[in-house]
Amino acid sequence: MTYKTRHGLRGLLAAGAMALAATIPLKAQAETTYNLALLSDFSGPYADIMPALASSREAVFDWWNATSGQKLGVTLNYKNYETRYDAAQVASLWPGIKSELDPIAVVGLGGPDVAALSERLPEDKIPMFMATAAYGYAWQSDAWIFNPRPTYSHESAGFLSWMREQRGGDEPLKVAILASEASPAYVDMAKGLELYAEEHPEELDLVEIIYTEVQPTDLTAQMRRVARAGAEALIVQTNTSIVVAAKRGLQANGADIPIMMSSHNGLPASGSALGGLDQLEGDYEAYGMAVAADEDTPARQFYETLAADYGLEAPWNVVTAMGISQGLYTVAVIGHAIEENGAEGLTGEKVREALFAQPITAEETQGFLPTLTFTPDAPFPLKGLQVNVGTVKDGKITIEATGVDVPDVKKW
């Protein structure tokens, strides 16, 4: 039985098992125990990536319990709740989660969690830690929901800045964006970069923003227009179906414009949807997190540790990297809170205060994330932002650049 099949079955069983698990009391394993609520989607649109994401973050909590937690006399218990990636489901589950677990933090998955809990968490004084990049519309002060990565527009601006530097010359880089109005998040990704290009005409020449369906019929004409405009890069941070349609449109036109993807629609997912990574030779993925390439990096070594000693079976890919990075910055913040307040009497409010009190270093997150300095001004760090760039070379994902500085993107 392959990993995917095995985890597919586990995923199906997990949803049902959770209902049963809800009746089983959590087991205390050390002097002081705190609970984490993990929001998961084993039966909705992210069911295929959830087993890897869930097992990755769980492996990090197990690792922390066995190492730092043991020294501090603290155990983090965790429990997954099936949300089906549905805001209504999250909202209806939340009172039960709170009364059952009394969690000191929530480990979230995506937009529905944010939509359902953004008003509740400040009242309940429980912070939520996400894995994805942030959104412009959620860029508000005094947040209780946090992203370790800046907005998608920050990430694309960082990538384009790097690309322009690689190209050389003083001319602005000609860029096109392929987005969709199917989701506010997709529009948000385009709007932030559009504003940045408007304010920095010496750096970026935004030749066009194309809005299309989430499963486009044909993008040949649109890609011809982009090629005719002399675009040097195409930003697609929406989904893999649009990447595939764009690639086919570019191929039909004989155009070789590199595409930049994000983590959720990155090289492995889009390559798989295209029938092979070789189709994306010379294209890029860029995000503020470690690239899951074959190279022997600190992040890769930490993954190997989790796989060898903590039963992590998920393969080394961007989804696993997201789960691990989410788990690592969550336990780092909790560790800081314990250092400052002692092991006893930790609350969600104290955890949130610890997030602002000191930076989470790149060493603490094993190189998965850059040093993160959160402030009450935004739900993500505003300073020291960096992205990493991966590409496909000879049919393999390789790291093209690390620690690329992200320019200052204004709020939109």
Binding site: E213, R224, R225, N239
Partner: protein, 294 residues
């Protein structure tokens, strides 16, 4: 100017693809007076059948395409037998509500059986476009356009010139009356669902050739909806004209207006045209005007 003409041609071909999917709506409607809200889901079921026989079983396209069409026909037949046959003689509203339930059920089944992963769809039509001077025409859309026109001509002839087709029309008029006249209502509706599923599978092949397959592909059902309503739900031949008008309008809006306004007016234009025509002609361009005498 060349590019403008090219955009018109590409738009017309995309419109013909919408017309092919809309043909599924019309065929089922003409035989049962049921508006099938699950038409987009039939497209993805067809798509997954093609993907399964080609990419999973490993059959060559020459084998997998006819096999997929047969399997799609069986799916259509099964849907009719399981969900609709017992509703014959009941109100049309009940049958329409069943198709709404079917929409949810089929989506769930696809997720359960195949998962939400994005999969590569086989390359059925050549990826290399046809070059006519400076003009570029995607091969899948070109071949799809020809198939749509042939299917429309064939089905128009079938429904208007053959006894079987006329029987199906009689069934749509009134199940009880048709049955009392010795027409097999069950057989007619089952045949319409088989045909609707096969047309949807052909639509899936044209739409997805060389691209990717997820349950999101069912959205093409919504793109085809304005074409079906614009043409009139009884008119198969009218779909061609409606498809071309909507496709060209959408293409010109997407290529010339959207870049100016920085928005996605192209995805709304088909609905604006549809609403405009329905205000003037509630039965659509070529829909039948019925006179009810009380």
């Amino acid at each position: 100017m060349v590019y403008f003409i090219n955009d018109i041609i590409t738009g017309a071909l995309i419109g013909l693809l919408y017309a092919l999917v809309a043909m599924g709506f019309v065929v089922i409607y003409r035989a049962s007076k049921v508006f099938n809200f699950a038409q987009g889901e039939l497209v993805i079921i067809g798509g997954f059948i093609v993907w399964f026989t080609t990419m999973q079983v490993g059959l060559s396209l020459w084998l997998s395409i006819p096999l997929s069409l047969v399997l799609a026909g069986l799916v259509g037949y099964a849907i009719e037998r399981i969900f609709l046959t017992k509703l014959i003689g009941e109100s049309v509203f009940s049958m329409v509500m069943v198709t709404v339930g079917l929409l949810i059920l089929l989506r769930g089944l696809v997720l359960l059986l195949f998962g939400p992963a994005v999969r590569p769809f086989p390359i059925i039509f050549p990826l290399k476009p046809l070059f006519l001077g400076d003009m570029l025409i995607p091969m899948n859309l070109l071949i799809g356009g020809i198939i749509t026109v042939v299917a429309a001509v064939g089905l128009s002839w079938f429904f208007n010139r053959t006894r079987s087709g006329l029987r199906m029309t009689a069934v749509a008029e009134d199940h009880v009356v048709a049955s009392s006249m010795g027409i097999s209502v069950k057989g007619s509706i089952a045949f319409a669902w088989i045909l609707g599923s096969i047309l949807s599978t052909i639509g899936a092949m044209i739409f997805l050739s060389g691209k990717s397959l997820t349950f999101l592909a069912s959205d093409i059902g919504f793109a085809a909806l304005p074409v079906a309503l614009f043409a009139g739900l009884e008119s198969i031949g009218g779909l061609i004209l409606a498809g071309v008008i909507i496709g060209v309008a959408q293409s010109l809006t997407t290529n010339y207006l959207d870049p100016m306004i920085g928005g996605s007016l192209g995805s709304v234009v088909p609905y604006i045209i549809m609403l405009a025509i329905l205000l003037v002609r509630p039965t659509g361009l070529f829909g039948w005007r019925t006179i009810e005498r009380v």
